[in-house]
Each structure stands twice: as C-alpha cells, then as structure tokens.
C-alpha cells in the first residue's frame, strides 16, 4: 500500500463514515432545546447506546481481552462497579479495582 493510497483510504473509509454521524447530529439537533422532552428522549437513547457498547465489549471482547475467560471479565466489571458504589463514588477507585480483579483473575488462570 503506497503512502498516498493509505491516507486516501483513511479519509474515505475511516474519517467520512464516522464524521457523517456527527454531521447528521448537527443537522438533527436544530430546534431541540435543552430541558425539553425530546432532549430527554435523545439523552436516554445515547445512554442506552453506550450501555450496549459496554455490554458488547464484555460479552464479545476484542483482541487479547478475549483470552480472559468470561467469568473473570464479569467478576472484574461487577467488582469495579461495586468498588465505585461503595468507596465514595470514586471513578478512579472503580477503574483500578476492576483492573486488579481482571489482572489477578487472568494471572490465576495462567495468561
């Protein structure tokens, strides 16, 4: 793949298919006011999409995360979430706790 060809592909196949959704959002957001009912619905849709992304990564993980067994991945996400809820609602605590559970679990499993 030549240098120029790689950059052309980046714009046509990477940039444009992502940016189109942002531009569509810019067009669709015209006339929507914050605190309105429509705004609350779109907000719920956005949160649900993100929740879907999270669940998909845990259940159908990409790359090397797939080599960690499902039960360890589930324990790590539940453990991290519980640490966040019970330790001062700290995001950092939750993320670190989740990563520790994942790492210890993976080491015990022999990865």
């Amino acid at each position: 793949m030549s240098e120029l060809h790689a950059y052309a592909l980046l714009v046509l196949v990477g940039f444009l298919p992502s940016e189109i959704w942002r531009v569509l959002g810019l067009v669709a957001a015209r006339g929507i006011v914050d605190e309105s009912e429509l705004f609350m619905w779109v907000r719920a849709v956005a949160i649900a999409v993100l929740a879907g992304v999270i669940a998909k990564i845990i259940l159908f993980p990409p790359g090397t995360l797939a080599s960690v067994p499902l039960v360890i991945r589930l324990c790590a996400i539940v453990g991290g979430f519980a640490a966040f809820l019970f330790v001062r609602r700290s995001v950092l605590t939750g993320v670190v706790a989740g990563e520790v559970v994942l790492t210890v679990g993976a080491l015990a499993y022999g990865i």
Binding site: A6, Y7, L9, L10, V11, L12, V13, G14, F15, S18, I20, W21, R22, V23, G25, L26, A28, A29, I32, D34, S36, F39, M40, W41, V42, R43, A44, V45, A46, I47, A48, V49, L50, A51, G52, V53, I54, A55, K56, I57, F60, P61, P62, G63, T64, L65, V68, A76, G80, F81, F84, R89, V91, G94, V95, E99, L102, T103, L107, I111
Partner: protein, 246 residues
C-alpha cells in the same frame, strides 16, 4: 473534581475558557483511560504496518476508538474498502445521539453554524460524558470554548497514547493489552452511572446493558443504534408514565 465557578468563567476570554476545559479533561480519570486505550490502538496500528503519521492522523480525523480498531485491522488484513467503510460507519452510529444531546447545551439562538463544527468533530464518548457533567456549571456564553477545550484535552491524551503505543508495540505483553482493552467498558460504565440523574437515564442504562448483547446476537446490523432507540424509548416512556401517574 470541583466544577469551575460560573462567575469566574463568564469574565474570561475564549482562550482562557478553552484552557479551563482542557485542564478539566486532564484532571478527569477518563484522560488516563484514553491514554491507555490509545496505547492499544497505537500498537495495533504499528503491527498492521501503517506509518506513525498515519496513526496520528487517524486519531485526529476519525477520533473514535472502536472505529479506529476496525479501520486498522480490516484494512491491514486486506478487507475491501467498502466493507471496511460500512463496519466503521456502523460502529460510529453511537455518535449521532451524543451530538444531538450535546448541541442544545452549548448552542445559543444566534450561534453561527461554523462555531459548531469543531465541538461536533471533537464529540466522542469521553468528551460527551465530561461535557454533560460539567457544562451545567459553565455559563452558556462560555460553553462552546469550554467544550472545545475538553475535547482537545482528551484528543491530546489520545495522541500521547497513540505515540507511546506505536513505539512500544513489539514489547507489550498480552496481559497488559487485555487490561488496556478492559479500560473502555469499566470506565464508561462507571462514568455513565455517575452522570445518571433522571429515572429515564437509569432505566436507559440498565435496559441498554441487557438489550445490547441480545441485539448483537441477533445479527441484524446497526444493532447498537437499535439498542439505543428501543431501550432509550422504553426508558423514556416508563419515566413519562410514572410522572403521569403521580
């Protein structure tokens, strides 16, 4: 982190407000999550034989982690460009409701269209989460530069990660890359939970977690957008029903 005070920000120049947003991004745990995630993406980009300039341009232009993973691994493995474009487009569909729910917070009646181009391009999950949390504390006239600063803060963190990952690519052990990949779901789940205020927000989160994998297993295409529309509408409907019954 305490939100910036309203009186403080309204008296400052656009550049100073942007810088306040930039700092807010770097004080967020998500900046370090972004670095970790992009170390993984930088390494992947290197492994599939792309140049460093291309890796940096990809982070700046695509600015969506999962889309970049698909782009690099599909093109690197010799997939057809049209197939790759479709897969990237499907994965980035989540940006649509995020942009729609961000714009009403930053726009004013006379905001020119061109002033919205940069914040819209900078919209990604991390920027959206922190903007939604912090913007209500920022005076409306300062929100666009503040949101730009938050977005640029996270993008600079991503570029640091891209560079580090690109150079360390060959020496990353699999346990570390598994941990880096796990950063995205754990940090997104916790930060989204922290942002939930309304009953509809909470319901959307729980319903999305359940419906997402079901829709994916169904293999109907655009499964994330369908998850959002079905779970989000259900959550909003239940919320409205509860309000009506009160």
């Amino acid at each position: 982190m305490p939100p910036p005070s309203a009186t403080d920000l309204s008296q400052r120049s656009a550049i100073a407000v942007s810088f306040a947003g930039f700092r807010a991004a770097w004080r967020s745990v998500l900046a370090y999550v972004v670095i970790g995630t992009y170390v993984g993406i930088g390494a992947l980009t290197h492994d599939f034989g792309f140049g460093l300039g291309w890796a940096v341009a990809s982070t700046a232009l695509v600015w969506a982690g999962p889309a970049q993973v698909i782009l690099v691994s599909a093109l690197g493995a010799g997939a057809a460009p049209i197939e790759t474009a479709l897969a990237v487009g499907v994965s980035s569909a989540r940006l649509l409701p995020m942009v729609i729910s961000l714009l009403p917070l930053i726009r004013r009646p006379k905001t020119p269209f061109r002033a919205l181009i940069l914040p819209v391009h900078l919209t990604a999950v991390t920027m959206w989460i922190e903007a939604l949390r912090l913007l209500p504390h920022v005076p409306r006239e300062a929100r666009i530069p503040f949101a730009n600063g938050v977005g640029l803060g996270f993008m600079s963190a991503a570029q640091v990660g891209t560079l580090v990952g690109y150079y360390l690519a060959t020496s990353l052990p699999p346990l570390l890359t598994a941990g880096l990949l796990f950063l995205t779901p754990i940090s997104f789940l916790i930060s989204t939970t922290r942002n939930c205020r309304l009953v509809s927000d909470w319901l959307a989160l729980v319903l999305g977690l359940v419906l997402g994998p079901l829709m994916a297993a169904w293999q109907m295409g655009l499964d994330l957008l369908w998850t959002g529309i079905v779970a989000g509408s259900l959550a909003y409907g239940i919320h409205r029903l509860r309000e009506a019954l009160k």
